[in-house]
Symmetry: D2
Subunit: 368 residues, 4 copies
């Protein structure tokens, strides 16, 4: 269960790291959007392993095939869009030991406890390859938001371990983010982050970090009161990502240190539009977007697989040691940036459709 | 939309601060549980305003009536349990100015932008009174978890502004938490917190803080891979609370500063059970509980209503000033603790039922 | 479980026949609709018992109270609308024997088997009083469809036992339907139906019948391919009604006797609009409305409670006899007509909102 | 939207008749079931075209590939099971004319009206090939019900046009049903049905019919009160099938002709179990199974594609003629039988899991 996300723009994903393939069905896509595999591929390539000197050497073409939902003219038909990526570069032997001994801070033990059995190769469904379906569907969501509404979703690496880029309000461009392999738009910081990641790898160790995401041009009014608040659905989306440990919107945890007078975002009339002079709310008030940029952060723990011996137990409960094998990123955050964007776009588009359904298509002018 | 929460143990809430009342329908409750209004009332009394010198003087009896779903013998019948609390102490006049001028960092403007109109009195649906339905249903969830599974859910105030209780692994008891009006189980810290809140009130200002929650005795195996990870649903539950700005599980944001070797929770065999020697995972790995205590934190911003003049705009876009009126807590976190418990219990019980449905009732022994 | 209906225009109901009351939360209602209790009451009065010489003498005022979701100006606010009807005229003693002995063709035994206990008085949740919440919410749906889209939903009694009104394409008006107590718009047939029902009552027996429903002015395009076909959701809505045993759309079961050539609805251009020259499809093709009237029928079995001795067993499995008591309609179909209308309106409005969300609010003109 | 079915045992389907392929993701499957492609294939072969002299000559291998969710040992892993069937025998040219002219009583016009464009080849998503995903997932559901609970689901052809097999209570075996190509277990009637279908084909015409389905060994207690009644979800499942026009459970429409005394199913104690002496309820009372066989019927209209000229309009609204081309069954009911079984199994298993979650895993013995 739990492999479906979204109410109206809804995705369902499948696939393990080492089976036939990974994929997604996207249901609820509006008709008439030009869409081809190359656009999806571009986003998949951003999350693909083997891109750079700081990520896993696993080489996957990760070539996407669109199976349905597109007309002869290359337009979305309104029907489900199924997309699949075949697995190719699998070295299951690397996982033989791991199939018996539980890797610390992985999902090996919990899957075994839940289901009584598991697909052990490559972490099975708990592999980060699972996010391929999210990124493929997110690419569609990002395009729709951009084409129909002018909304852009941008995520970048704010910190790696204790190396943090300077605070600032400027929204980095995609070019600035993609300019280096760590996806930090501040070049000097990026260089230090890369060095830190390489050092961790040299030590057989790993590091974590924080992604920051900014959504621009959001109309006011998206998000539902009470349970489906916009930040609640964003939080769920982000905490559903492998290795994520925290989420904060706007001022976040730091906001707890301020007083109300200092924290409140005063309203002003700027160029005829109601705006806030600060944005500690992170673009969301009472669960609903207020027209300012939506800004949030996601914390990712250090990669659990390390190339050093650690204590663990095997399936029979015997204590033993395990040394990580397989090919793993010593830091997941650079590749997590496009995944964060994908999930954010899925949440925003879904809420955009929900808002439209209730609030934008009824004309009660003639009632009496 | 968005007023329903949960898949199997599911609640739907209604009601505004100043209408006829607030309530909830709880669907999916297992039959045969002894339940009376007094038990619900006890939890409601914990979140009720007017309890102490540091909360709003608004006096509401908040007396709950159970409308359905209980047999003559006082047992849950398996059918929906509707519960209602009538509003009584309403002073709408305090809100007249607020109905025209948007309160900074409130939901006034966003509701207006979303719906084109709004119930302005008392913040309408965005009032913290909305959480009454959550607490009432959460009281049922807490009892079921305790009686059937021995699971306990406990939340307390870890920090108010920059005053933070000492770090520690000990799980405070309910008695220790309820021993003071700020619900911090460390008496010296509690005293300082109370003073800090009183100072804020005296200044016409407000403060925020952090709630920590611990769930004990959780069986391994709860939570669904991929989107409905246990921490993802907890994050959504917590970010759906008024004034919450952040969520972190286990090591959270601080975990991004550690390396993998230091962060990983090694497994060990303790008294014949597979356990971890540390708990930076916060009791959840790969989205699924591992049998350790579930531990998470929620950040709450300082109360938006302050008794000092702030700049804002009115409904026509004219810039103006607004000084807070009405009765509001200068700090929401003490009253938020029981609400955090309620939401956590709802999430956990729902996942417990989902897990049972898929994994605990099929016997495939006879297949060949 | 199972007490929620609809995806976007969504209702959740609660309440038993003999508890505190019956009610509904309506979530997803578009804002800005004028709505007062009197309008809801008008529809409730149509389903209310004690209206005529052929229905149960149980007298319930069934007075509705709106608890939330309405602004000072009487407009829907976009937030949940909770409505409650208190139970008043309860004579539980009539049910004492029934609480021990299972009434044939009632839900007594199945509730007991499912939950291990039950609220026996008045049939508990299985009472037809449960439909009050549906009718209250359906009244809102009917008004929205009428005011915003000009869509009307009309249901009437086509047959009682073997007495059937003449076939015909004319759509009866509400006045013609409400002109007699059996809600059959053909006066001569109505007179015979009433006599038939009175005879059944005199015999301590009961009769069933068929409701026909026609939805006019439906735009083409409503309904989703595959599982959520419009007729599928209508079928579910109708088979969810107490005592219903069958559903057919358009030609229905009789259509299986025709050949394709005779059955197909040929298209024509009528006054510049694409229309069909016949309507054996019942206004739906491939699960989607085609702009013709939606026409369907629902079969209701004879009332299970009869005032004659029947064989049954008690809770301990002992065979015994049971003679019906309590106040029951000898024929449910006249009162079922407004309930059928309510459910049809809920289905149609929900699909109207889903259609709008996906297909009517995106402008992809600028894509390249 | 609308391509997902089920709450806990949940399927999502995709694919058009003439695209890359058709498939399904099955989420919520219990772990530990032996499952291989051959078992799925066996059910797919029953619905496959080109099986007999009375079905379409379209030849599709319809070979299924399982993409995920199975362990090395051939057991279900609890994670999503994706299955795909590639399209192979496509003759799009047969559809050129049809892409411009709307086929009467098909979904061509309504898809165009809904989406503003459509995949015209082969009927696109409205093709009966869409049911492949249902049958593949239904094969899993049938196996689980059989292995874990001993429940069997059997559907057969009761009538073709006006040729109807004799009424009777005996439950035909699968062997009796599969003994002839029309899937009617009464050999003499089957012979007449086959002749009737061949005559229709010779005339370039088509016929419809009725499927009867019987589910045996159902435990009492499945189904939810109110909206998700077992018969309501069965009705939705059946009316979601292409060409279906009606559904009735137990006595159905004929039950409206009986009086209550004659219609009621009296209870008796048979061999220590509470049973009914008749089964006009069709195994369901108050929406919940009572332990008797579940019996229902589904009406299918005559195939819309006929090889004779019919009046229609083209996309520009011009009136014209259209003569059917392509390869189509002159009667869909023989191939519909396995599809009805698949949908019935999906509904039943989903309710079995929902029931278990709420009612079978909590022990409240220790409460006080």
């Amino acid at each position: 269960m739990g492999n479906t996300f979204g109410q109206l723009f809804r995705i369902t994903t499948f696939g393990e790291s080492h089976g036939a393939g990974i994929g997604v069905i996207l249901d609820g896509c509006p008709p008439g959007l030009l869409l081809d595999a190359a656009e999806i591929q571009r986003e998949l390539d951003r999350r693909r392993p083997g891109q750079s000197s700081i990520s896993t050497p696993r080489k996957e073409a990760d070539a996407v095939e669109i199976l349905s939902g597109i007309t002869r003219d290359g337009l979305t038909a309104g029907t489900p869009i199924a997309m699949i990526v075949r697995n190719t570069d699998q070295r299951s032997s690397a996982y033989d030991e791991m199939s018996v001994r539980f890797r610390p801070s992985h999902a090996d033990y919990t899957y075994q406890a839940k289901y009584g059995l598991r697909i052990a190769e490559g972490g099975g469904r708990a592999s980060a390859r699972e996010t391929i379906g999210r990124v493929a569907a997110g690419a569609v969501a990002k395009k729709i938001l951009r084409v129909a509404d002018g909304v852009t979703v941008t995520a970048w690496v704010e910190s790696v371990a204790d190396i943090r880029m300077p605070e600032g309000d400027a929204a980095p461009t995609e070019a600035e983010i993609e300019a280096n392999e760590v996806r930090c738009p501040h070049p000097e910081t990026a260089a230090r982050m890369i060095e830190r990641i390489k050092n961790a790898r040299a030590d057989g160790d790993s590091v974590g970090g924080v992604i920051k995401c900014r959504i621009q041009n959001v109309p006011a009014g998206l998000g539902e009161p009470v349970f489906d608040r916009l930040e609640a659905d964003l939080a769920k989306a982000m905490l559903s990502l492998p290795a994520s440990k925290g989420f904060e919107v706007g001022s976040g945890f730091a906001g707890t240190l301020m007083t109300g007078l200092a924290h409140n975002d005063e309203f002003e009339n700027r160029d005829g539009r109601i705006r806030t002079s600060t944005n500690r709310s992170g673009g969301i008030q009472g669960g609903i977007s207020n027209g300012e940029d939506i800004v949030f952060r996601v914390a990712f723990k250090p990669t659990a697989t390390v190339m050093r011996a650690q204590r663990t137990v095997d399936k029979d409960g015997n204590e033993c040691e395990l040394t990580g094998k397989g090919r793993h990123d010593p830091c997941v955050v650079p590749r997590a940036a496009p995944i964060v964007e994908a999930m954010a776009a899925l949440v925003l588009l879904d809420h955009r459709m929900r808002h439209a359904a209730q609030n934008q298509t009824f004309d009660f002018a003639r009632q009496d």
